[in-house]
């Protein structure tokens, strides 16, 4: 089973101002230009290598999962949210079955009669259905299948609430 990564090596309070800006300011509209990290460096008056090093540090420490694309659900491949009702004593063993599939990218225990909630993503509907059937077969419990029908979310990233005053100061210099 995938480790439950509850520990971090650095706390949020130890982040530098530059790191906070990298986390907060580039969640969307990341530069689609030849030298994107250089372009970001110029905004802060630092070297390209400072941006590259800091992004690597943030990634290693788990603050960033990646720099890249968030795809609209179901725009490529097939995916669904799924839920199961699993008795307390079997939670670990069923979680292990669910997590064993590469197609499962999220799996959470939640406080509800339906307590096991996971997301399955596959290249096509047939593969998706096979994974769901297989999980039902191996666990012995039914899967409630809840595909997305409509997306109402405007994804502009997540405001981390950092103080961004320093950016305007630097820009004013």
């Amino acid at each position: 089973m995938q480790a439950n990564t509850e520990t971090t090596t650095t706390s949020q309070s130890e982040l530098t101002t530059l790191q906070k800006h990298l986390l907060n300011d580039f969640q969307h509209n990341f530069p689609l230009t030849s030298r994107p990290y250089k372009q970001i460096a110029e905004m802060f008056g630092v070297r390209e290598s400072d941006i590259i090093n800091n992004l690597n540090i943030l990634k290693e420490q788990g603050f960033i999962s990646r720099v890249g694309a968030v795809f609209r659900a179901n725009s490529i491949g097939a995916s669904t949210l799924a839920a199961m009702t699993i008795p307390e004593a079997e939670i670990d063993s069923v979680a292990e079955i669910i997590n064993s599939y590469d197609e499962v990218n999220h799996n959470y225990l939640r406080e509800h009669k339906y307590n096991m909630w996971f997301v399955v993503t596959a290249s096509d509907d047939a593969t998706l259905n096979n994974v769901l059937d297989d999980i039902e077969h191996r666990s012995g419990y039914g899967v409630m299948y809840l595909p997305m029908l409509q997306d109402f979310h405007i994804d502009l990233g997540f405001d981390l609430g950092f103080d961004t005053e320093l950016v305007s100061e630097q820009k004013a210099d």
Partner: protein, 175 residues
């Protein structure tokens, strides 16, 4: 136990992508290289020049196959340690209007309509609400209820108690 679930897809139409787009998507799922010229590096693996990689990514952005392109943070590690999947049973004729209202708040990171599974599951709108702790999440849900005319709408708040797995989706390339 009921193993017979309805698996009719009922999914929105998918945008047709050519083979080069699919290869590019497969390659960038694990993230953009953190190197001086990341698009040129991607292009080298795909047999495309840098300009083509950039223009294809711009197009995928424009037609919203890519919802957002940039730094993907992990909420939990950044102090947003609590999240609740909050589900709502909204009359079909107002679900678009109320869903659109909820989808604008930045503490809402997902806002999807999904099918009801009656009689067990009457909820048709799913929101993921983040906060620094449980109280913060509940306060955010109250903000939504007031601002989006949801005070009369039945809902349930499902806090997560354990995380077994969390990573970006991996789509295999369609052959």
């Amino acid at each position: 136990m009921d193993m017979k679930v309805n698996r009719e897809p009922l999914l929105p139409e998918r945008i047709q992508l050519d083979e080069q787009d699919q290869k590019l998507i497969t390659l960038i799922q694990t993230g953009l290289p953190i190197t001086p010229a990341p698009y040129a590096d991607l292009g080298r693996e795909l047999g495309m020049d840098e300009g083509e990689v950039i223009s294809r990514l711009k197009k995928l952005n424009e037609n919203e196959v890519i919802k957002r392109f940039g730094v993907v943070v992990r909420h939990h590690e950044l102090g947003y340690r609590s999240n609740a999947m909050t589900v709502w049973n909204i009359p079909d004729d107002v679900v678009s209007e109320l869903g659109t209202c909820m989808g604008q708040f930045d503490f809402v990171t997902l806002c999807y309509r999904r099918p009801r599974r009656l009689p067990d599951w009457p909820y048709n709108l799913f929101t993921m609400i983040h906060g620094q702790d449980k109280e913060d999440v509940l306060a955010n849900i109250e903000i939504l209820r007031e601002r989006c005319s949801l005070t009369e709408i039945e809902h349930q708040v499902l806090f997560s108690t354990r995380r077994f797995k969390q990573r970006g989706a991996i789509y295999r390339q369609v052959k």
